[in-house]
Symmetry: C2
Subunit: 235 residues, 2 copies
DNA sequence: ATGTTCGAAATTGTATACAATCTGACCGCA
DNA sequence: TGCGGTCAGATTGTATACAATTTCGAACAT
């Protein structure tokens, strides 16, 4: 009785595929902030027309993964130190509450998924694939938001995680260790226990820790594109 | 030495203009939830090609003012009762804190602007233009977020206000009075006084009041489009 | 050598053309 | 009458074509 033969051949949205591919590359720090994203170039890579590339770029611009300058083109976004601070302030406001909610709702299946995330994260780290590890680390937070079952807030958190990836690319201090997996492990434990208070507090301190591993002193980030930094751009 | 002759003739972004026009119409409840937004139709109205209409619609879809169904088209979004609840929960989470921050930073100029908003709101109400009044009421909240000087959170609040407009269109109880201007007035007072605690509490209760003026019992909203409601759509 | 002007190449913004999909009505048949 | 199938019209998805703007280098003057 099922109308469809289980799998769609590929009548999928091309725009979404391109957007996802670009987002992944950005999250894994293969595309660094400031990189120019030419429409033709991307179109050739994925064998699609500029129409869909433009749609993908606009979609990414909306979550501020890329920045579109009129008549200039799209670039991987370069959050300022101020924006970086704002992103983490917002995370501190949203995520602890969300972790609490997740602790009150998580099913055994959810715990499985979270533990799996952590395991994969370890694997990536051991393999020296820091980009993949970072991406997984972000998706861990997104997964918690999903468990909390608040789609609206989850979406906000998703964009914050995305921007955090850019912030980390720009401002992460080499000195501080990247291994947050311990914090993640403790979080999962408290969620599994249904300990709302503990989950909320752990998430709070986790994000504070992340934030304090950034060097957000105002300074010229890189000498990469003076133009952007110097000329007063009005949209 | 200024390069440009003060005003741009109109090399402005056509997409943004269309998106703004549509958003305004939605906010003012001239376009009701569920309304089909045909690309050709809108293109003819604003004398632009489908290309820019599509971009505008996708932009609005991203803030969930419209809903795009593949191969079907774009419709003014119809938030479910669940989404409505989520929107207000998110507002309760974000806005009181933002009001507190606004109270600590507002300049005399900011207070002027807020009072002006309220005045205009009164005018619109007296003129019987409920749509305009509702829109102004929303922009009042956005203005407070701007004063709080947290762009990231402001943007979230902006989308929440936008969605609230749809929620109100669908679920507002006729019985309850629309006049929230008293609450707004008290808020401005506490912000002007720099009374952070009071501002936070007033904003909290204000949003709770708004929420309680909605009828969010689960029920078929309208008989408008069975298809959407019945068939499991996988994006 | 330094700085300025001009123009061709490249890139983005917008419009149009073509392909794929959906909608809805008409028609035949039980 | 009611049900199902088929086809034309309409609508969206994607590609291409054209217009507007920027970029960058070469020619030229200082």
């Amino acid at each position: 009785m099922q109308a469809r033969p289980i799998s769609k051949p590929k009548p999928q949205n091309a725009t979404q595929k391109v957007a996802d591919a670009l987002a992944l590359a950005i999250h894994e720090h293969r595309l660094m902030p400031g990189t120019k994203l030419g429409e033709d170039e991307i179109g050739e890579i994925y064998n699609v027309s500029r129409t869909v590339v433009r749609a993908a770029l606009q979609s990414l611009a909306h979550i501020q993964l890329v920045e579109i300058q009129r008549n200039k083109g799209a670039f991987v976004a370069s959050p300022t130190t101020r924006e970086a601070r704002e992103v983490f302030e917002a995370r501190i406001l949203l995520e602890p509450r969300t972790a609490r909610s997740a602790a009150s709702r998580a099913t055994p299946r959810d715990i499985e998924i979270l533990k799996d995330h952590i395991a994969q994260e370890h694997l990536a780290l051991d393999a020296g694939d820091n980009g993949r590890a970072l991406n997984l680390s972000g998706r861990f937070h997104i997964e918690i938001a999903r468990i909390a079952d608040q789609n609206t807030i989850s979406q906000f958190i998703e964009t914050l995680i995305a921007r955090s990836s850019l912030v980390i690319a720009l401002y992460w201090r080499r000195e501080s260790a990247l291994c947050e997996s311990h914090a993640h492990h403790a979080l999962v434990q408290s969620i599994a226990d249904g300990d709302e208070q503990n989950a909320e507090e752990l998430m709070h301190s986790h994000i504070v820790d992340l934030n304090s591993a950034l060097d957000l002193r105002d300074r010229p980030v890189q000498a990469q594109n003076l133009r952007e930094l110097l000329q007063a751009t009005d949209q």
